[in-house]
Amino acid sequence: MDRVVLMLSVLSLGVSSQPITDGQRLFSIAVSRVQHLHLLAQRIFSDLESSLQTKEQRQLNKIFLQDFCNSDYIISPIDKHETQRSPVLKLLSISYRLVESWEFPSRSLAGGSAPRSQISPKLSELKTGIHLLIRANEDGAELFPDSSALQLAPYGDYYQSPGTDESLRRTYELLACFKKDMHKVETYLTVAKCRLSPEANCTL
């Protein structure tokens, strides 16, 4: 029995000590991937916007105000104070949820140009990476009371009405929301990373 305890403690120590170094690497990878996705979204969105006329743009802006993003149900810190107050695991879980929420709709985004087709697979990879990060940082195994964090959000119905005349609007909405969410994930991951590795000074 003593031996089992000893082995378990050693294993736990090993497991716990590893993620410190692996976590940084994983974080770096995740951050870079998210950044790439965000840039991709930005590019697509700007392309779309440039192809529109000003009048349409104004209308779309109005539409955009009226329609909300699908990920709005996911509660996430919306300012720096909140973000810094949140623990790392919460940030990671929120990021995971955000990425997961876009896994399905990104397929509808993918159509036509090449950059769009890259979104879906990259999202999958990002989700995997964040999941790993969660596993690596689940020391305390804090279970959120908000169990909905790990649940899939009912967003499928929202995007299931195609409508050709609204396709442009939908694309615009999707791209705008996607871009914003990616930036959120990027920010959360960066803050989490900097918090976990203070020696990096987060400037490099």
Binding site: L65, D79, K80, C202
Partner: protein, 621 residues
């Protein structure tokens, strides 16, 4: 009353407005120009007011967040300056769309601006970097500039809330072009390749990963110290050194220009013919030109030829031989040594010039001298009587004193010493020549056969012996002749005839030849040859009086290998009676031919002289 006052005021206002006309109007439409957030925590919006319509206008900014329907007014109109609205941290939400509208209000109305949707995340424009420090540092003697800075104090890069990228630009003070470098997220940058002694301006700016570039920081001045002097001095030294070497090389080339020119561009040899006058050719007179080419002294005449030949006359008799000669007075082989090969490579010499050969032969002869001496004595008398028609007798009585080179001479008939002065001299020379010719070829044998008879038995060796036999007798006249010869010959003929008496004995290696002169022609058409000797008179110092006939010329050789000598009628004086028999010939009177058994062919020379070198092939033994 109050109502009347209010109506009056309203009327006045109306009047005023009507009176002023279009001066007053509702405010123009304001426009939001920009909204910026310096650190993604707060943001500020600026607007541009429109026309105020002549009336004091107030502006108000209203915003609405996307998630709520409440319209809020700008919390702070002053912090950011005129026509601005500042949203502090509490009022700022990230990833939230703001719908902002500016309303201009004056007495006559209010005007709304176009609404603007912003997301704070995308309007970030940080402040310029701070604490820009520029220092000059050195790397192995090469200076460089190190620029360091700090992010704007508001931007929170430490927590990772905002990530900034930096950019630097540098330029020389007097130039206009900036050199920009992207520094990434680092806060330090090195600039190399600086100009010595130049003053540089450095500026830094930053940008968030998704946002706008900040303004450039204020210029920082830095002066690069002069460090190229050291390099320049080295280059100056090298240049001076190279110039120096170049000068030396140029001077050397100048000094040796001629030789170099000959080396690189060798001069083409032009045709130069001696006696060829180009001018004559140009004039067109070919005859004169070609006549000039004719050398006067070609072909060489006999006299010159003889002179030439005699020049190489060499006779050598060592002392030993002389003594022996004196003693024996008889057979003494004098081998004349011809030394012509050393200095002149005459074609006629060949192997005949082999000194050793001569020596050997002479030695061989010497061995037989004893035998021959007896015979010589025996036949001496006969020999004296007989006319030996050997054309040439060369003797060097005084060999010890000198040598006489003998040219391979033409085997010519006997001269007559005493009778001939110059002529005999010439002939003597020629005889010398002929003898030398004769000698090499006849080293092995004595060719002379002074007539038929006893001398024949002697054989070739006897010739020499015979000669030596006659030596004592002949020496004197020979000496005379030789003296004469010497007088006319060149240096090579030395000490011939110095001694009147045959004191100089020819060495055994040397073979002497004797001059035999034709005494007379007897009735039988025989030429009597006599050795030129002292007995024939006081020949010493005696100018050669030509006596008798001069049979120095060979007429030809007949079929029986007989040498036909031609007589030249000369003044004849009385001389020695040393008759010698000569083989009879066919011709009687004028031409007395003395036949000599000739083996081989006789080649007539120009003057009728026979070249013995080719004529006689004496039997060797």
């Amino acid at each position: 009353m109050r109502k009347v006052l209010e109506v009056i005021l309203l009327l006045l206002l109306l009047v005023f407005t009507h009176a002023k006309g279009t001066r007053y109007s509702p405010p123009g439409k304001p426009a939001l120009t920009r909204c910026r957030s310096p650190e993604k925590e707060t943001f500020t919006c600026w607007w541009e007011p429109g026309s105020d319509g002549g009336l004091p206008t107030t502006y108000a900014l209203y915003y609405r967040k996307e998630s709520s329907d409440t319209v809020n007014e700008c919390p702070d109109y002053r912090t950011a300056g005129e026509n601005s609205c500042f949203f502090n941290k509490n009022d700022t939400s990230i990833w939230v769309n703001y719908n902002i509208t500016v309303v201009a209000t004056n007495a006559l109305g209010r005007t709304f601006s176009d609404p603007v949707d912003i997301d704070v995340v995308y309007i970030v424009k940080p402040n310029p970097p701070e604490q820009v420090a520029v220092t000059v540092m050195e790397d192995k003697g090469w200076p460089f500039i190190r620029v360091s800075w700090e992010p704007p104090h508001k931007a929170d890069t430490r927590s990772g809330w905002i990530t900034l990228m930096y950019e630097i630009r540098v330029k020389l003070e007097e130039e206009n072009d900036w050199e920009t470098h992207l520094a990434g997220q680092q806060k330090m940058f090195n600039i190399f390749s600086l100009r010595s002694g130049g003053t540089y301006l450095v500026q830094v700016r930053c940008k968030p990963d998704h946002g706008f570039w900040s303004e450039w920081s204020s210029s920082s001045y830095v002066k690069v110290p002069d460090y190229f002097h050291r390099e320049k001095s080295v280059w100056i030294l090298i240049t001076v050194f190279c110039a120096f070497i170049f000068l030396i090389v140029t001077w050397l080339l100048h000094m040796n220009s001629r030789s170099l020119k000959h080396f690189i561009l060798p001069p083409v040899p032009g045709p130069k013919i001696k006696g060829f006058d180009k001018q004559l050719l140009k004039n067109g007179k070919s005859e004169e030109v070609f006549s000039a080419l004719v050398v006067s002294d070609f072909p060489p005449k006999s006299s010159n030829y003889e002179d030439l030949l005699v020049e190489y006359l060499e006779v050598y008799i060592p002392e030993e031989q002389e003594l022996m000669l004196e003693k024996s007075m008889d057979l003494d082989v004098s081998c004349l040594k011809s030394e012509g090969s050393t200095s002149d490579s005459d074609s006629g010499r060949g192997s005949c010039d082999s000194h050793t050969l001569l020596m050997h032969k002479c030695d061989g002869v010497k061995e037989g001298r004893e035998r021959q001496a007896e015979e010589a004595r025996r036949h001496q008398k006969d020999w004296k009587e007989e006319a030996s028609t050997y054309s040439n007798v060369d003797s060097s009585p005084d060999m010890s004193s000198g040598r006489v080179k003998t040219w391979p001479s033409v085997f010519s008939p006997l001269p007559r010493y005493s009778s001939n002065q110059q002529g005999s001299l010439e002939t003597a020379k020629q005889h010398y020549l002929s003898d030398s010719l004769f000698r090499p070829s006849s080293t092995s044998s004595c060719h002379t056969q002074p007539g038929h008879g006893a001398t024949e038995a002697l054989g070739p060796s006897y010739w020499e012996c015979g000669l030596s036999n006659k030596q004592p007798h002949l020496l004197h006249p020979q000496g005379q002749a030789q003296r004469q010869l010497q007088a006319h010959s060149d240096d090579n003929i030395s000490s011939i005839g110095r001694k009147p008496t045959p004191a100089g004995l020819p060495s055994p290696a040397l073979r002497s030849t004797e001059y035999v002169e034709v005494q007379r022609v007897n009735e039988e058409d025989m030429v009597l040859l006599q050795p030129v000797s002292g007995r024939c008179g006081d020949v010493e110092g005696y100018p050669q009086v030509p006596h008798g006939e001069d049979y120095s010329k060979v007429k030809g050789v007949d079929g029986d290998n007989m040498l036909l000598l031609q007589r030249e009628v000369r003044e004849e004086t009385g001389n020695c009676d040393t008759p010698s028999t000569v083989a009879t010939t066919q011709k009687p009177t004028t031409c007395i031919h003395s036949a000599m058994p000739v083996q081989g062919e006789a080649v007539l020379g120009v003057n009728g002289y026979v070249d013995t070198a080719t004529v006689f092939t004496l039997p060797t033994y």
